[in-house]
Amino acid sequence: MNSHPSNHRRAVVGGAVLLAAFLFAVPAIAHHGWGGYAQKTSEISGTVESPVSMAGPHATMRVKVENQVWDVVLAPPTRAQQAGLKDGMIAVGEKVTVHGNRHSDPKKFEMKTSRLTWNGKVFNVYPDRD
């Protein structure tokens, strides 16, 4: 059984190093967090195209600004709820203002939201952010 123990050990160590290198070489692209979004905050105002959805990793809604529909990415559902949002909230056609960081790809109409304003109410999904 123990014909070449040192060779095997080397193979194991070599394999582990290769795998570690592979894992750390993966580029740090980002969608989660603010990495994939513009550094500066901005604001859009428009009408609700689809109400707040609490499904999935992030609460979302869609807002129409002129003729462009924006994907509004809110906080994780639990956090969005703490900020006062509920599933299905804000009816289609209602006027809202969305403050946050837009997607760094100018062809993508997506806003990572820190604040949502509707009807004089402010939903601070990320109160620590500008």
Binding site: M1, S3, H8, G15, V26, I29, S53, G56, P77, D87
Partner: protein
């Protein structure tokens, strides 16, 4: 792919995931991680042993305990993973990491099935393995390790696309 995603999203699983309250996704995600931890923790030890580590510990002994833990972990990870995907399946259409993850899982599972059916695996505990058999097991252990590491890496990166 899109048709499959539309179907999955509209399935009762997708509806359940979306309608069962704001903590649903978080807890299913948590269970997915427990599944991965059990699967990978067990398979890592088995695969390293197959490759040639800890040769004084009998492979049959490691195989007997690692295999069921890995299988349970895989079952948990796969069922919760289907739920996570079903929540908003159509949003993942075109996500390259998903297209890496699902095939490597298929290869990892196929590799595990082939391993269990191999003469070398069935001979564990009853006789000494030949050099050829040990090499075969080492290659299959290496294949397994690459598959599961890639699946975990690609799976994590789905969220960052």
């Amino acid at each position: 792919m899109r048709e499959l995603a539309v179907w999955l999203q509209a399935s009762p699983l997708g509806t359940l995931m979306r309608d069962a309250g704001p903590w649903t996704y978080a807890f299913v995600n948590l269970a997915h991680i427990f599944g991965i931890a059990a699967l990978f923790g067990a398979i890592l030890i088995l695969d390293l042993r197959l490759i040639g580590a800890w040769r004084r510990t009998p492979l049959a002994a490691i195989a007997a305990v690692a295999s069921p833990v890995a299988a349970c972990g895989l079952a948990l990870a796969a069922t919760t993973g289907a739920g996570l995907l079903a929540t908003r399946a159509t949003e993942y259409v075109g996500n390259p990491f998903l297209y890496v993850k699902l095939p490597v899982i298929a290869v990892g599972v196929a590799n595990a099935i082939l391993l269990r059916r191999s003469g070398a695996w069935r001979a564990l505990g009853s006789r000494d393995l030949s050099l050829g058999e040990r090499r075969q097991l080492a290659w299959m252990g290496g294949t397994s390790l690459v598959c599961w590491l890639t699946a975990i890496a690609a799976g994590r990166l789905i969220a960052y696309w």
